[in-house]
C-alpha cells in the first residue's frame, strides 16, 4: 500500500547559490521501495535536483546517515513520515545531495602503506560513519570513525602490520580516543562499528611501548584502579 511522505529536501548548487534552502515535496510512494527510488521520484518532480547514485550512494535523513539502498518502510518506522533529506555533509556539498568526498579518501592514505589496494573497497563501505560523527565538524584532521572501523578490520587481516596501524590511530590529536559514540546517528544501527572501535582502543592500550603520552596517561588510570 502506498503512503504519503512530507519531505523537506536540502538544495544547494555550489556553482550558483550563496545559501542553501529546503524545498518541500509531498510524495506518495510504495514504502517497500528504496530511498533511491524516493530520490528518483523527487527528480521527476524537479529535474534540477541531483543526488548520488551507485552502490555507495548515501545521505542523511532526519540527521541519520544511511546508504540510499535501504527500504523506505524501515525509515518510516524509525523517523516517521515527515522527513528531512540532507547530504552527508552540508559543508562539503557540491550539488543538492552530492558532496565532495576527498577528505574521506585522504584519511585512507594514512593506512594505505599497511594494507592492500583491494582493501580500499571495504573502507568505502564505512563512508556513512565518517560523515555521521560530530567530531568531524569540530576537529580539523580528525581521522574519522570510518578509518577506526577499517583499522580494526585490518589489524586482523594483516596482523604483521598491527603495530604500525595502531600507532596511526593512537594519535593523540586526531585519533581514536577522540571518537564519540554515534549509534543514534546511523541508520539502521551503528552498534557493530561501536564494538569495533571499543576493541580497537583496547588493542592500542595493550600496545607497548606506548604510542604517545595520552596512551601512557590512560594506562596510568588503569593501573590506579
Amino acid at each position: 500500500m502506498e503512503c504519503k511522505l512530507a519531505l523537506s529536501v536540502f538544495r544547494f548548487d555550489a556553482k550558483t547559490d550563496f545559501l542553501p534552502y529546503y524545498k518541500k515535496h509531498f510524495i506518495t510512494i510504495d514504502p517497500s521501495l528504496s530511498v533511491n527510488d524516493l530520490l528518483a521520484k523527487i527528480k521527476t518532480e524537479d529535474s534540477s535536483f541531483d543526488y548520488p547514485k551507485g552502490e555507495l550512494a548515501a545521505l542523511k535523513i532526519n540527521g541519520k546517515a544511511l546508504f540510499s539502498n535501504v527500504s523506505i518502510d524501515g525509515i518510516i518506522n524509525s523517523c516517521g513520515k515527515s522527513l528531512t533529506l540532507e547530504p552527508l555533509s552540508t559543508k562539503r556539498v557540491t550539488k543538492d545531495m552530492i558532496i565532495n568526498t576527498d577528505d574521506f579518501y585522504e584519511r585512507f592514505d594514512l593506512l594505505d602503506a599497511y594494507v592492500d589496494g583491494k582493501d580500499r573497497a571495504l573502507y568505502e563501505h564505512y563512508m556513512i560513519y565518517h560523515y555521521a560523527s560530530s567530531v568531524l565538524d569540530l576537529l580539523e584532521n580528525y581521522q574519522g570513525d570510518a578509518l577506526f572501523a577499517f583499522a580494526y578490520d585490518m589489524i586482523h587481516k594483516h596482523p604483521e602490520q598491527k603495530r604500525e596501524i595502531l600507532e596511526v590511530v593512537a594519535n593523540e590529536n586526531t585519533g581514536v580516543f577522540l571518537h564519540v559514540k554515534l549509534c543514534k546517528k546511523i541508520y539502521p544501527c551503528g552498534a557493530d562499528v561501536e564494538k569495533k572501535i571499543t576493541e580497537l582502543k583496547n588493542e592500542v592500550m595493550k600496545h607497548r611501548p606506548f604510542a604517545n603520552p595520552l596512551v601512557e596517561k590512560f594506562s596510568h588510570h588503569i593501573d590506579l584502579l
Binding site: 567530531v135 576537529l139 564519540v180 543514534k184 571499543t198
Partner: protein
Amino acid sequence: MKHYFLFDTLIQREKTAPMITAARKLIELLNLDAPSFKAAKADLGNEFMGLDKLKFLEHYAYNLTLAADEKRDILCFEQSSFICHAQTKDLLLNDANLKFEIAQRLEKHNLSLNLDVNVVSLEQLLLEEIGTEKLASLLKNPFGNFQTALFLGSNACRARKYRKEAFLTQILDVIKLKQVKHESTYESDGFEVYDASSLLAKKLSAKVMLDMFDNAADFVLVSDARSFIMFDFYQKELEKIAGREIGLSVLSLAELLLLAFGETNKKAIGLDQHKVTITLI
C-alpha cells in the same frame, strides 16, 4: 516490597554531589528499602571499557556479586552507572569464556561470581513499584508552566537495551512537564573525550547547550551524571568557548520530582550545590 541497594558512588562524586543528595532524599520520601550501597566500587563510566574491557567487567562484576549475595537488586538513579552494571551482567551471561575469566579474577578477592541480581533504573522503579497513581497523589507543584529540554546523550542507545526510554516520558507526564523539541537529545555531551581533549569535550557540550537554549528550554533535564558534570559544573567554561551566555539550569530526575512533590528546601535537595543557580523556586 523489593530490596535494593542505592548505587550512589557516582562518577566524579565531587561534581555530582547534588544528584546523590536528591536521590537519597527521594528514596527517603518514598519510603523505599534502598540503603546506600556502601561497599560498592565507584562508577567509572563505560568509557573505561574502551581502555581495559576485562578490568571494567571485573569492577562491575564485583558490585553485582556483592549485591546478589545480599539478595538485593541494584537501584541506579542515573544512566552511567545503570549502563555499566546492566551491560556487565548482559555480557557475562552471554559469553561463557568471559564469565569464566571474570569469575577467576573475582576469586582473588574471595568472591564467587554471582549474577543473580537485577539492575533497576529509577524510572522503572517509580513506575513499576510506586505507580503513576501514587506519584500523581504526591504532586504538589505541577510543572505545567515549564518546558524542559530532555537530554539523553550518545549513551542512550545502550541504556535503551535495558530499560524503556518511554518510562521517563511517562513520569514527566505525571508532573505535567512539557518538553521542547531539539535536535541534540542524543548528541554527545563531550564527557567521553574529556580526558583526551577537554577543549573538544567543551565544544561538543557547548553546541548541545546552545541548541537547547535556543529552543526556549526553561531548564535541562539530564539522565546521566556525566551530562550533569558537563552542563552544570563546566557551564561557565562552555560559555567562554561559545562566546555567549547560557545560564541554563540543569536538573536530574530525582531533583525534579522532589520539587514537584513540594520540597522547597534547596539544601535538602542538593540544589544549593549546583554551579548554575536554580531559579525555578
